[in-house]
Amino acid sequence: MLRFAVRRTVGMVSVLFAISVIVFLIFNVIPNSDPAARIAGKNANPALIARVRVDLGLDQSLPVQYLTMMKQIFTGQLTSYSSDQNVAQQIWKGLPVTLSLCIGAALLWMALAVWFGYLSAVRAGRFTDRALTILALVGISLPVFWLAAILLYYLSFKAQLFPTGSYVPLTENPVQWAYHLILPWLTLAVLYVGFYSRVLRSNMLDAMNEDYVRTARAKGITERQVRLRHVLRNSMIPVVTLFGLDFGAVVGGGAILTETVFNLNGVGLYAGQAIGKLDLPPLMAVTMFGAFFIVLFNGIVDILYAVLDPRIRLGEAAPA
């Protein structure tokens, strides 16, 4: 276990380092990315631009700029180029929103995916299965932003059933909090429900042919117990691990489109704005934040896998 933890931590540090360097370099290669020029304004003369550059420390060499930025990130002093906001604070403010969105969506998508996947597998080949398969494929194919926009337009704007986006903190008003998040949750969940229910269905169909399921039936337990305790339990293992990875990715910035359409001031929206303004500091911070979450969840998923499948011991290969 110690071996595993040490290796993963070393891995995480390496990944974060590599990502930060790559983002930094890419940013400095993009045309039109000179922040000094934009901050100085449209009518700035070269002298003004030059002064702004010195102010922002952009006249230093690249490695020095990089190190300075890293230092600022870790001491929480990183400031955006375009506004004077502290990046860390902005991310901190956006975090509850993003987490509300992601956790809620995740619970919804897992519940639905397990239910639909189970039904599909148990009634494989019949009408229920075919209907759910079509639904799943539709869900996977719908672009998130399109779906969000459509839902917003018809259910919020036209039918006035739901509020038109924006966020109400949980601590302020739980009911309103949920009410405002229902459409975003649905939007984010739709893609994953489709995908996960298919994966679960496939795993379950495989598991049903396994020898230990036959043994379970031979023991005389009910068919439902066979399905839940033996088939579903074993089929869930890969699904849970997939979930860990996807959840990490979603929190780390995958909700950007949903947040933008529904105007939820989360980390994703913040990142979107930073991209639009080509504002390096927030971008760097959000990317690192996302990478951190993904690597963290990767590690959690591995631990979880070892917990769920006793044949796996951390740090060793899975049995054939």
């Binding site: 110690l2 071996r3 040490v6 290796r7 070393v10 740090g315």
Partner: protein, 326 residues
Amino acid sequence: MSGQPLLEVTDLVKNFPIKSGVFIDREVARVHAVDGVSLVLHEGETLGLVGESGCGKSTLCRAILQLIRPTSGSVRFEGQELVGRSPRELRPLRRQMQMIFQDPFASLNPRKRVGQIVGDPMRLHGVADGAQLKRRVQELLDRVGLQAEHYNRYPHEFSGGQRQRIGIARALGTQPKLIIADEPVSALDVSVQAQIINLLEDLQREFGMAYLFVAHDLGVVRHVSDRVAVMYLGKIVEQADSDTLYARPRHPYTHALLSAVPIPDPRKNAARERITLEGDVPSPIDPPPGCHFHTRCASATDICRHNEPVLVTDDTGHAIACHHPL
């Protein structure tokens, strides 16, 4: 049989390291798959190799053919040393040594046609090419009991027994002097097994190659072999000619093994003295000290726990590694 043996294996060892570590993997243990094996095979003869799972017989086969690199020891084929040679140097020798595998479903490439599977070794070694190659392949297919038309089919279109015939045809192409058969009939039904065994014997009579025949079925091994070697946990514990080994086994393990095999003859079965070995086969990662078999041996004494017995051959050619042979 001429003076120089076709194949001479001396003290062959193959260990697989088990690595573990925090930052850098270090070897913490070893699987002693083959733990010092010596054997001799002459032209045209069949040496049977028996043992249970984990005894190392499959690893031994691969180590002899240099498909796995031995950890130490020597393998001489027609007097030439194989261990330590580069792949290029081994190439011309590979023509003379071929292998037949156990699993007829896994050992044939499902994406290649039969003609290609059988013909590739000949083509690669420059034995034949083009139209002549095709003719030769068809002759081989015919010889193993398949039809010339099967040339264009894919492996999945055949039964287990037929696939094994394809594997045999493939091994015969380069006219090798040595064929190592690793459990060639274990995956087959009894009646198909008989067909394949008869085929292998006919081919040996016709072409004169030597077989190293590995199997866990003692009846099959007795039938095909001139001499038999018994392996346990990476070592050869007894070796003798077939009839002697089966009639008068001298190693306790051989005796227990033979006694455990049920004979398809109820009266004989009931009349036999049966020895049942207790417990499981120890792991090759941490084999018992001294004689590897002492943990399950009824005749084990103190010396067995500390001293490893050496394989000693008496003047009748019967070799045994035991402090208290029966």
